[in-house]
C-alpha cells in the first residue's frame, strides 16, 4: 500500500478536531431559567478533567469520515511490484561536452573538468550511451554515439575515459553556442531517426566565462526533450587582465604603441604592469609601465618601444593570477629594402635636379631601406641576376629598347614613375600611356607671377590617401610653373589622380598588367614647382614606394584559428609556415590562406620573394573570464536540466510508476463514497440525538 501524495496524510492531524469539539461540548446539557442574568458573566468553555466524551458513536463516525477524506486526498494505491532495480532505469544518451578553450588553461580548471567528466562516466548505467565532444572555437567529436547497425563498443565509458585523458585545452576561443547547437541538433536528429527510447541529455563541463559566444543559440529552436546539465568549474583566484595592441591612428608615431588593458569583472586586483619583451616570461622587468584598471573596466595607454625594445615581439602583462593571456604578440617593424632605379640627366648633388630631392625624400624612411641607383646608358636597364627594382623613375628620353624592357617590367608588376624634364622626355608619356597625347608643340612657360595650383585631387587614391584628412589636404601653397600639357582621349583607361586648376592633368596613373605607370606632368624640382620643397613631397614619395612595395607583412591582431591571407606566391611552389614552436606546416600548392594557427606567437610564412611574418594572438573575448550567468542560456531557449544521481532517477521512475498505478486503481473514489456514506449516517444519528436532547430539554425539571 502506498500513497501518491503522502503529504496529505498530515491532514490526519485534523482528527483531533472532532475529539476537541466533543470534549469542549459548548452546548450545556440543560437549560436553567433564572430570574435575572444581571449578576452573571459568561463562562468560557474549557476542557477540564470532568469533561468526558459522550456520543461516542457520532465521534467515531466523524473521525472515520475525516480519515477517509484524508486518505482519499493522499491518493492511495496498492503496490504490485516490489522495489525497483537499477535495470528498471531507462537508458540515457549522454553527450559529454567538455570545454577545451584557452581559458581552461587557468589554474587547475582542466583537472577539475576531467574529474567532473569522470564522475559523469562513473554514474552511467550499462544501458546508457555516451559520446564525448570537445569544444573551443570549433566542435570536435572525440567519440560519437553508437551508430545504428554498428556493433556496440565494448566498455565505451572506459574508451571515453582514455580519450578524455588525452585531451588538452588548446588556445582557441569559446564558442559555446555553436557547440551546443551542433550537439543538440545531432542528438535530437539521431534520436528521432533511431526511434531511440534512450533519454537524451547534454552535460557541459566548462568555466562558462562571459567571453563565451552564445549568439548561435538565438537562432536555434532548442529541442524540448534535450536537457542541458551545466557543470561549472571555477577557481578561487579569479583576477585576470589582458593587454592588446590597438592599430595606430594616422599621425601617431610608429614607435608609440597604444595598448588596451582589460580587467575581468571578477578580478580582485587593479594594478598591473606592462613591458615589451622578446619572449613571453612574466617576470619583473626594469622600465615596465604600471597601469591601474578597476575590475570590469579597460584602459588605453601608450607603451613606447625603448631603444632596446625595437625588436621585441610581444608585450607582457604582470600582476594578475592567470598568465595564459598575458602576452600579446606583434611583428616587430623590420626595414624593407627597396631598390629604385633613376633614369635622368641631373647630377646627384645638383639642387636643381630631380634626383637630389628624390634621394633626400627616401633617405630617412624608418620603414624602408631605399637604394636609389642611377642607371648608366651603357649598361642594360635590368640585369637578370638582380631582383627587379621596386620602382623606376624616368625623367629623360630613353631608347626604344629600354622602353620595351620597361613595358615588360611594368607588365610583370613593376612601377614606373615618369617625370619628364623636357619636351623630349615628355614624349614618353604617350608612349607608355596610349590614350593621352601632348597638347601643343611648345612647353608653356609660366609668366612671372603666374602659376598653377593643384585643383582637383582624388584623395581616395592610395597616392593621396595620406592627405585625405582635412588637416593635410591643403595643396594651395604648392605652385607649379611648368608642366606638360596633355589632352585625354576618350574613352580612356587612364585615371587622372590630380588636375591643375586649369583642368589639365597633373598626375596620371595607368594600370598595365600587374604593374602601373604613374606620370607627373610637372617636375618637383624648384625650377618646375614648389612640390619638392613642400611637406607633401616625402609622404607622396612614400606612398609611391608603398605602391611599389612587395614585402607587405600581415598586420598583427589575427586570432587563433583565424585564416591569414598570405601574399600571392610567385611560382607554383607550396608555402611552408613555421609556427612559434618551430613546427612547420606545408600548405597545398596555390593555397594562400592559412588557418592552422594553434597557439599564439609569431609565425613565418616562407613566401617568395619575401618571407611573411604574422602575429597570432588569443581572441580578446577569451580573456573575459568573469563567470557567465547561466540564466542567459535559459533565456536563449536552452532547456537547463538538473543533474540527478542514480538514486534520484530511480525515485523519479518509482514516482512515475506509482502515478500510473494509482491512476488505474483509483481507490480514492471508493474512499470518497465511503466518507459520504459515513457522513450521511452521522447526520442521521446526530439529528436523532439532537431531537432527543430537545425532548429532554422541553421536559420540566
Amino acid at each position: 500500500m502506498g500513497a501518491l501524495v503522502p503529504i496529505y496524510l498530515a491532514g490526519l492531524a485534523a482528527l483531533s478536531l472532532p475529539l476537541i469539539f466533543h470534549l469542549v461540548r459548548r452546548t450545556p446539557r440543560g437549560r436553567q431559567d433564572f430570574s435575572s442574568l444581571m449578576f452573571l458573566s459568561p463562562t468560557v468553555p474549557k476542557l477540564t478533567r470532568r469533561s468526558r466524551l459522550d456520543q461516542l458513536l457520532l465521534l467515531l463516525l466523524r473521525l472515520a469520515a475525516l480519515a477517509l477524506v484524508v486518505f482519499a486526498f493522499s491518493r492511495p494505491f496498492l503496490r504490485e511490484a516490489s522495489l525497483l532495480s537499477l535495470g528498471d532505469l531507462s537508458g540515457r544518451r549522454v553527450a559529454l561536452l567538455i570545454d577545451t578553450s584557452a581559458s581552461m588553461r587557468r589554474g587547475d580548471l582542466w583537472q577539475q573538468a576531467v574529474k567532473r567528466a569522470e564522475k559523469e562516466l562513473d554514474d552511467l548505467n550499462p544501458q546508457d550511451d555516451v559520446a564525448l565532444f570537445a569544444f573551443g572555437d570549433r566542435l570536435q567529436t572525440i567519440i560519437d554515439f553508437a551508430k545504428e547497425g554498428a556493433g556496440p563498443i565494448a566498455d565505451k565509458p572506459g574508451v571515453v575515459r582514455t580519450r578524455l585523458r588525452e585531451l588538452k585545452p588548446d588556445w582557441g576561443s569559446t564558442d559555446l553556442g555553436t557547440a551546443l547547437v551542433a550537439v543538440a541538433g545531432e542528438i535530437d536528429s539521431t534520436s528521432d531517426v533511431q526511434q531511440s527510447a534512450l533519454e537524451p541529455q547534454i552535460v557541459v563541463i566548462s568555466d562558462f566565462q562571459v567571453g563565451s559566444r552564445i549568439d548561435a543559440l538565438r537562432s536555434f529552436e532548442w529541442p524540448k526533450q534535450v536537457p542541458v546539465v551545466a557543470h561549472r568549474v571555477a577557481l578561487a583566484k579569479t583576477t585576470n587582465a589582458t593587454a592588446q595592441i590597438l592599430p595606430n591612428e594616422e599621425g601617431d608615431e610608429l614607435t608609440e604603441t597604444r595598448v588596451r588593458v582589460v580587467n575581468a569583472a571578477d578580478s580582485k586586483v587593479d594594478q598591473f604592469f606592462l613591458a615589451w619583451a622578446k619572449e613571453p616570461s612574466f617576470i619583473k622587468r626594469p622600465g615596465e609601465t604600471g597601469v591601474y584598471v578597476p575590475a570590469g573596466q579597460s584602459r588605453v595607454i601608450k607603451l613606447p618601444r625603448g631603444v632596446d625594445d625595437l625588436t621585441a615581439e610581444c608585450i607582457v602583462l604582470r600582476g594578475d593570477d592567470q598568465e595564459f593571456d598575458n602576452a600579446y604578440y606583434v611583428v616587430p617593424p623590420r626595414k624593407q629594402a627597396v631598390t629604385m632605379l633613376y633614369v635622368g640627366t641631373d647630377k646627384l648633388d645638383s639642387p636643381e635636379g630631380l634626383q637630389y630631392f628624390l634621394r633626400l625624400a627616401v633617405a630617412n624612411d624608418p620603414l624602408r631601406q631605399v637604394e636609389v641607383r642611377l642607371v648608366d646608358d651603357k649598361k642594360p636597364l635590368f640585369t637578370p641576376t638582380d631582383p627587379p627594382p621596386g620602382a623606376v623613375v624616368v625623367s629623360r628620353a630613353i631608347s626604344p629598347e629600354w622602353q620595351t624592357s620597361l613595358k615588360s617590367y611594368v607588365e610583370r608588376g613593376g612601377l614606373l614613375l615618369l617625370v619628364p624634364e623636357n619636351r623630349d622626355a615628355a614624349q614618353l608619356i604617350p608612349a607608355f600611356i596610349d590614350d593621352v597625347e601632348l597638347a601643343s608643340a611648345e612647353t608653356p612657360v609660366a609668366a612671372p607671377g603666374k602659376y598653377l595650383l593643384l585643383g582637383e585631387i582624388d584623395f581616395a587614391h592610395p597616392l593621396f590617401a595620406p592627405f585625405a584628412s582635412p588637416r593635410y589636404s591643403d595643396f594651395t601653397k604648392i605652385h607649379f610653373w611648368k608642366h606638360v600639357p596633355l589632352t585625354m582621349k576618350t574613352p580612356t583607361k587612364t585615371h587622372v589622380v590630380a588636375r591643375f586648376d586649369n583642368g589639365e592633368p597633373a598626375l596620371l596613373e595607368r594600370l598595365s598588367g600587374h604593374g602601373r605607370v604613374i606620370a607627373l606632368t610637372s617636375g618637383w624640382q624648384p625650377g618646375d614647382s614648389q612640390l619638392a620643397l613642400s611637406t607633401k613631397f616625402v609622404p607622396l614619395i612614400g606612398a609611391v614606394l608603398d605602391l611599389a612595395g612587395k614585402d607587405s607583412e600581415v598586420a598583427a591582431g589575427v586570432s587563433i584559428h583565424e585564416p591569414v591571407a598570405l601574399p600571392a606566391q610567385q611560382g607554383k611552389s607550396a608555402i611552408a609556415v613555421v609556427g612559434p614552436g618551430r613546427q612547420e606546416t606545408r600548405l597545398e600548392a596555390g593555397q594562400t590562406s592559412f588557418a592552422a594557427t594553434d597557439r599564439p606567437g609569431i609565425y613565418l610564412a616562407k613566401t617568395s620573394p619575401q618571407p611573411t611574418r604574422f602575429a597570432v594572438n588569443l581572441a580578446a573575448a577569451e580573456s573575459n573570464t568573469a563567470p557567465l550567468d547561466l540564466d542567459q542560456l535559459a533565456q536563449s531557449g536552452v532547456k537547463l536540466g538538473i543533474e540527478l544521481t542514480r538514486n534520484e532517477r530511480l525515485e523519479r521512475v518509482r514516482q512515475h510508476r506509482d502515478t500510473e498505478l494509482e491512476g488505474r486503481q483509483k481507490i480514492w473514489r471508493w474512499l470518497v463514497v465511503l466518507a459520504l456514506g459515513t457522513l450521511i449516517l452521522e447526520s442521521f444519528l446526530a439529528g436523532r440525538a439532537a431531537r432527543e436532547l430537545r425532548t429532554a430539554a422541553a421536559t420540566p425539571t
Partner: protein, 334 residues
C-alpha cells in the same frame, strides 16, 4: 396599629427561637391553600393567636411620652399618679388614633415567577401571600389598604379604601399570574406620589432585580411627602446563594437572554455582585429612613409578618404622629 412592643431580641428572626417559640406555619403547606384570602386569614389568625395579647386592648388612646409641666399647659393631661409618687408635675402625652392608609406595591414581573427546584411556589406566590396577609391584617384593624401591581407598567391600581368588598377585589387583583418582560420600579412609586395625597404606609414587594439608580430619587420623593416606606425584598434562596451545580444555559426569564454559565466558576462573583446590589439597596433605605426586609421564600410567612410588625413597633409610631419630631429608624431592617 395596636401591637405590643416587643423586645429587640425578638427581631432576630429565626424559626427556632424567634417570636418566643412560636410554631410557625410551613410555607409549603400554606401555599397549598389555593385561596389567597384564606391563606392570609390562616397566617393572621395564627400570628394573632401566637401574640398572646389581644390587639383590641388599649386600642383607642396610646401613650407616647412624659413631658415636664410648664405653666400654661393644659392641666387635664397632668399625670396625677406620678405626681403622687414623685411629687413632680409631668404631662402625659397621647397620640391620636387615626386610620392608616397602606399602599401595597406588588411586583408581578416574570422574574417573580422564578422558583428553585424543591419549592412548589414561586416568589410571586410568596409575595402575593405576604401582601394578602398584610392587607388582611390591616383590614382587621379597619385600616384602608390600596394595591398596585406592576411589571414594566402598572397593571392594576386599587386606591386605599376600607369598605365592604374592597378586600375581595384586592385579593382578585393579586391572583393574577406574573407577566411582563421587565421590571420598572419607578412607575408605581410615581403613581403613589401622584395619587396618595394623605400620608400613609407604602410597602413595596419586589425582588428588586432591576436597575436601582432611580430608586433613591423616587423613594426620597415619597419620603419627603411624609410617606412611610417599607421595602420587602422577596427572593428565592438560590438567588441569594446561587447553589446551582451543573453548568447550564441560563435563560433570563424577563429579557429572554441566554448565557452559558458554569456555576462553580461564577458563584463567587455572583455573590459579590449580589451582595453589592443588596448593600446599595440597604444604603438607600438607611439614608432615607426606610425599612428594608429580605424575605426568602423558604421563610415562614407569619414569621415574616411578625418581623415586619415587630420592627415597626420598635420604631414606635411613625405614622400619624402628632409631633413632627423625627425618629431614628432601624437601618438594618431586620
Amino acid at each position: 396599629m395596636s401591637l405590643d412592643r416587643q423586645s429587640p431580641d425578638a427581631s432576630k428572626a429565626s424559626p427556632g427561637r424567634g417570636a418566643r417559640g412560636l410554631q410557625h406555619i410551613d410555607p409549603t403547606a400554606l401555599m397549598r391553600i389555593k385561596n389567597l384570602e384564606l391563606r392570609a386569614k390562616a397566617v393572621v389568625d395564627g400570628f394573632l393567636s401566637g401574640l398572646h395579647r389581644s390587639p383590641y386592648h388599649g386600642f383607642s388612646v396610646e401613650f407616647t411620652e412624659y413631658r415636664q409641666y410648664s405653666p400654661g399647659d393644659d392641666l387635664r393631661f397632668l399625670d396625677w399618679r406620678l405626681f403622687a409618687r414623685s411629687d413632680r408635675y409631668y404631662l402625659k402625652r397621647f397620640e391620636d388614633e387615626t386610620n392608616l392608609r397602606c399602599y401595597l406595591l406588588v411586583d408581578l414581573s416574570r422574574s417573580m415567577a422564578f422558583r428553585s427546584a424543591p419549592r412548589e411556589y414561586n416568589k410571586a406566590e410568596y409575595a402575593k401571600t405576604v401582601a394578602a396577609t398584610i392587607a388582611y391584617f390591616l383590614t382587621l384593624q379597619r385600616d384602608a389598604v390600596g394595591l398596585i401591581t406592576f411589571d414594566q407598567a402598572i397593571r392594576d391600581y386599587l386606591p386605599a379604601r376600607f369598605r365592604t368588598g374592597h378586600m375581595h377585589r384586592l385579593m382578585m387583583c393579586l391572583e393574577q399570574a406574573p407577566a411582563g418582560t421587565a421590571t420598572d420600579l419607578s412607575l408605581p412609586l410615581e403613581q403613589i406620589a401622584r395619587t396618595a395625597r394623605k400620608r400613609g404606609l407604602v410597602v413595596l414587594l419586589s425582588d428588586l432585580l432591576a436597575p436601582i439608580e432611580m430608586l433613591e430619587t423616587k423613594l426620597g420623593y415619597l419620603r419627603s411627602q411624609g410617606h412611610d416606606v417599607v421595602l420587602i425584598r422577596t427572593l428565592d434562596p438560590v438567588e441569594v446563594n446561587f447553589q446551582f451545580q451543573d453548568e447550564s444555559l441560563f435563560f433570563d426569564m424577563e429579557s429572554g437572554r441566554e448565557l452559558y454559565v458554569d456555576p462553580h466558576a461564577v458563584r463567587a462573583s455572583y455573590q459579590a455582585k449580589f451582595a453589592a446590589h443588596a448593600n446599595e439597596l440597604k444604603r438607600i433605605c438607611s439614608s432615607h429612613g426606610m425599612d428594608y426586609y429580605e424575605l426568602t421564600t423558604d421563610q415562614p410567612l407569619d414569621m415574616a409578618l411578625f418581623d415586619l410588625l415587630n420592627a415597626r413597633l420598635r420604631r414606635g409610631r411613625p405614622v400619624a404622629r402628632r409631633q413632627g419630631a423625627a425618629r431614628s429608624s432601624n437601618p438594618g431592617g431586620r
